[in-house]
Amino acid sequence: MKKRNIFIRMVLPAVITLGVMVVFSNVYNLSGTLRPGGLQTVVVLVSAFLMFASIWLGPLFVNTFAFFNGASGPERLAASFVAPAAWIAKTYTYFIGIYSFGELAFLILHPLILGNIGVNLLCVGISELFCRRKMRSRGEPVPLFAAPNTLALVAGLLITFAGLWNGGHTYYYYFMDVYTWLFT
């Protein structure tokens, strides 16, 4: 598999996903200014789908694109997390000025933030499986389950499962109990 330059193999897929996130977040936010009706509904549906996909499912595209353009494992992981990192950073800006540094640090364990990391890890793992199977079908000696991609898959599954168990209530109340213990 040919290793393309860093722009193609790493920057391009990350920027595409980030661009989709930025553009369609704004389209979604502006959709409220449209007259209610068919056009508004279509704009809301399309922009919301692409916005959420870029935030939560980006690695399915980014990792796959990077993989087939010769990006290394760390490069694929880094590229996959550009859009999620941007979203998490943007989310943090809403909290800055309201909560202490310690509380902001603890926020990384919030089911939504940690969940975003977990789901994106899971997507990396799924993408890796897809890419590796494809490579193997072409006769390339690539292990289906190497340590890094297996770790991403298992960690992603565990975090996602924990976050969604009991409709998300169990993890959330554990999170809040620990918060209360630490900060109040």
Partner: protein, 496 residues
């Protein structure tokens, strides 16, 4: 003369006679300001804002039969039930005949607000008659202080049988030591929020599984059991529902009632509002339409169960001898300005239903009062109605004058406060609302101040805080906000 009127006259005759016979002695003894000064107020319900500074058990009309002729009290508190989600408030499809009945046969305070739009602080304010910064439950994470005195404790001292049934939802390692309660039935599961189905209850200290039970009906069953007990004393029932809080799960027989109906949500609302603008941080990763449908169906259940309670009182011939008050602990956004949940100082969040039914004590039933009432007014209102001196620490006013006098004036402005609630990205804020304006400021100016002209912009969509023509009123409101903060002893809490 109706039976209710007879009871009413008997109750206030007793009080007037007491005043007549003790008034001169009180003056002679120079005890004004020690509690009996309230009793010197002329006429029923007239001494609404005189503070006595008397601890429970010492400020009651000593010498009179403590409970003789006094009405029963039922206070029904729901969660997140905003003011306009009743058929009597013109909701396009909700049908709430039993809740409407309370308003239509009583008095509706159609401009009632909470001083903090959040469950725990608001609940503590109903109980204590105090702002959050005074009772100390400033968020859903700050524990209740057992030194706080609830209105039920005062009622106990004048001979009431008392029960707290339902949602307590204030943090703390253990349940509170609520003085003056004969029954205390509550739940602590899920941080005190409870669950709609199979919610384990703590019945007078004993944790009890409730398999197969739907929470609103289960709590009402306990309420009915308490109400129906043979007794010689009047009773005070504090019935605090989990409904209609998030989860929004109706009972099985009401599920799907509004399936396929046009929900008529605001134009700026859409299905994804609950996922965006950080609304997922309030725990709502479910489409807006589905949540709202569940909310409305859950309201129906509250109406249905309230009907059971009213029917039981009627069957016992106690309905007209019972003061029934219905209120919500805060409002809720359903897509207005793209918002979801509550906490902010906009009307959808801070405005609540407040209906009082008491035929014997309310003139011209079915009346609507436009003056502003607050959640902190419940406790002083009840104490005032029963002739109990208002303690200094209560910060609300009695609404009782408005029961009798349509022209009674309550207040011209009030302070709204909110403290940060981890992990919700909404800053601390204070606001002042008058009849015509609302001015909102955010702690440390993390957001710009907002000013709304409620007469011309009731939807609060266009802040005029920076409009040159509004600078005069802005200055006035800033001064009023500072005055209210001083007067109420406001202080900021960085977290809860």
């Amino acid at each position: 003369m109706t039976k209710a009127r007879e009871r009413y006259e008997k109750f206030f005759y007793t009080r007037r006679e007491f005043l007549k016979t003790t008034g001169s002695a009180a003056v002679t003894a120079g005890i004004a300001g020690t509690g009996l000064n309230f009793l010197a107020s002329p006429g029923a319900f007239a001494g609404n804002n005189v503070r006595a500074g008397v601890p429970p058990g010492t400020g009651t009309p000593g010498g009179v039969s403590q409970s003789a002729g006094r009405p029963n009290i039922i206070f029904i508190l729901t969660d997140d039930h905003r003011w306009d989600h009743f058929s009597c408030m013109g909701h396009p499809f909700l049908e709430t005949p039993n809740l409407d009945r309370i308003a239509e046969e009583g008095v509706m305070f159609e401009n009632t607000f909470v001083t903090t739009s959040l469950c725990s602080p608001s609940r503590a304010s109903f109980l204590t008659g105090q702002y959050a910064h005074r009772h100390g439950v400033v968020t859903n994470h700050t524990p209740w202080n057992n030194d706080n005195t609830t209105f039920m404790e005062y009622l106990k001292t004048v001979g009431y049988d008392t029960a707290f049934i339902g949602k307590w939802h204030m943090p703390g390692k253990n349940l509170p030591e609520l003085r003056g309660l004969d029954r205390f039935i509550t739940f602590t599961i899920e941080g005190g929020q409870g669950v709609y189905y199979d919610c384990p209850l703590i019945i007078d200290g004993v944790e009890t599984p409730r398999p197969g039970k739907y929470i609103t009906e289960d709590l009402t069953d306990f309420a009915l059991e308490f109400v129906r007990r043979p007794r010689t004393n009047p009773f005070c029932l504090y019935l605090s529902h989990k409904a209609v809080h998030f989860g929004f799960r109706p009972p099985e027989h009401l599920r799907g009632t509004y399936k396929g109906i046009d929900l008529q949500l605001p134009p700026e609302s859409n299905t994804f509002n609950t996922y965006t603008r950080n609304h997922m941080f309030v725990g709502a990763p479910i489409p807006m339409n589905a949540l709202y449908r569940g909310y409305c169906e859950t309201v129906l259940s509250v109406d249905e169960q309230t009907g059971r309670l009213i029917d039981a009182l009627e069957a016992m011939n106690e309905l007209d001898n019972t003061i029934i008050i219905y209120a919500g602990d805060n409002g809720h956004f359903w897509g207005e300005r793209g918002l979801y949940d509550k906490r902010l100082a906009f009307e959808e969040s801070i405005r609540i239903p407040f209906f009082v039914r008491y035929p014997g004590g309310i003139s011209r039933p079915g009346r609507r009062v436009r003056d502003m009432a607050l959640n902190i007014d419940l406790a002083p209102t009840l104490l005032d109605m029963l002739g109990i001196p208002l303690p200094d620490e209560m910060q609300g006013v009695s609404l009782a004058p408005a029961f009798r006098d349509p022209d009674a004036s309550l207040r011209s402005s009030f302070l709204y406060e909110h403290f940060p609630v981890y992990p919700i990205p909404i800053p601390g804020m204070t606001a002042v609302r008058t009849d015509d304006y609302k001015y909102i400021t955010y702690h440390d100016n993390v957001r710009p101040a907002e000013l709304y002209d409620l007469r011309h912009d009731p939807g609060e969509k266009h802040s005029i805080a920076n409009s040159p023509s509004a600078q005069g009123i802005r200055s006035e409101l800033e001064a009023e906000l500072e005055r209210l903060k001083r007067e109420t002893g406001y202080r900021y809490f960085t977290r809860g």
